[in-house]
Amino acid sequence: MSRANLDSLRITNQDLDELTGLDISDLSMGWGTRLSVFQQPRRLWVWLINQGLVLTVALVLWLPMCLVLGRNLATPSLSLVVGVLGAIATTIAQSLYGFYKGQQLKILSHLLDEVDRFNEMVKAVEILEELRQSDLTSKRLALEHPEAVKEALHLTRESLVCGLASDKIMRKHQRFIARRHELFASIETNLSSLHALQASELAGDYAQLLNEALHVGTTVHQALRQIMPPD
């Protein structure tokens, strides 16, 4: 397995942006905050630093503006308090909005976590491969079935890409899918009801794809554990 092959397997940030139609980073997906931020201490720290920066920018904008507007007031300290409170309120509102949008994109957040795990797995295989090449005489570090591993990684990648693409479609037609019950009621009379059925089917497929993605991911993980040396 060459390094180039493994690199082509990795799901890059650019791929994620294209597949999801959102700006994806370690902390955010579009305007939404990724749920893993609150589960991983390292990401939580980065998020807190980021919110500190939001507060700084808000203070820079709020404080002088309030002080200038309130310079003729009898109590200038009131302007100071309003400026600081305004900046804090802006930061809290931004955080809450990110959290709210993150809740709406729960499935995507889970899929992105799976993508992170997949990329870590590719990295692990890459490191094993590099170690093996540095010590060609030792068989201890070699993968027993490199082709099978590659195939498993490839399948996982396909499943994840499929899951992300399906999620994008579902989000795009969210309103339409939300109205499906109403459309089912008039299925005999309305042609658009047929489309609703298709959307419902799509939702089923999507769930199945997700299950497949999870199943393949688990299988790959187990396979990797088997082929990894015990120490």
């Binding site: 942006d17 700006d23 980073s25 902390l27 955010s28 579009g30 305007w31 980065v46 980021n50 920066l53 939001v54 700084t56 920018v57 203070l59 820079v60 904008l61 404080l63 002088p64 503006m65 002080l67 200038v68 310079r71």
Partner: protein, 226 residues
């Protein structure tokens, strides 16, 4: 969040950065990152010029200088956006915001690059008027370069074949004049940034009359001994 990486991307490959703005790619992140780094750079410069007077002035200037540039941007942005779309622009508000944050970020980097020079003059010369004019010259020069780059960038993002491009070019030039006027007057409103000698610390000067240009003339006259 890699805020400084976004700035480096802008400085190293401005053409690609502008292309990203034209294609509306990841603009929220770019805008926020550029705002953050601009705030930091302006705050450092503000702290340095304020340090020539007192600790309190240093802290006040570290907040007021970024505010000066960002509030000017906020005040002038709607004028540019609405006038431009009225005359056929296809860009959205986010793209205009990104373009304006690039101008502020570029100015902040240029101003930041003058920090060692300004620090050197703080330690070597104690003349208040000279220091004042030196900083006005630094801010004026960096402003002109930033505005020039913005003008070129806008033309690249909008494209030469855009509808009503001649008229919009003139509008853009007019807007740049407005930006300079608003910026200088806001600077006057938010003063002092340096803290005049023999005067107690004040967050803002109580008297609001007068203007930035009259003060420059007074400082020049004082420096030349008139």
């Amino acid at each position: 969040m890699k805020h400084f990486a976004v700035l480096i991307q802008l400085l190293r490959d401005r053409k690609q950065f502008l292309e990203d703005i034209r294609r509306d790619i990841k603009l929220e992140r770019k805008i926020f990152s550029l705002l953050v780094v601009s705030c930091i750079f302006f705050a450092v410069y503000g702290a340095i010029i304020g340090s020539s007077s007192s600790w309190l002035q240093m802290m006040a200037s570290a907040i007021k200088l970024p505010a000066l540039y960002l509030l000017t941007l906020g005040i002038c942005l709607p004028t540019l956006y609405f006038f431009d779309i009225l005359f056929g622009s296809k860009l959205n508000f986010r793209q205009y915001s990104a373009m304006l944050t690039t101008i502020v970020a570029v100015i902040s980097v240029l101003v930041f690059s003058f920090d060692p020079v300004v620090l050197f003059y703080i330690f070597s010369i104690l003349g208040y008027y000279f220091f004042l004019l030196l900083n006005v010259a630094v801010m004026g020069l960096t402003g002109i370069i930033g505005v020039r780059l913005f003008y070129q960038g806008m033309r690249q993002v909008v494209g030469p074949d855009a509808a009503g491009s001649r008229l919009r070019n003139r509008l853009l030039l007019g807007w740049l004049g407005l930006y300079a006027l608003v910026g200088s007057q806001l600077g006057w409103t938010l003063r002092p940034f340096f803290g005049a000698p023999n005067e107690p610390f004040q967050v803002f000067r109580p008297e609001i009359e007068g203007n930035f240009y009259a003060q420059i003339m007074t400082s020049l006259a004082s420096l030349l001994g008139f």
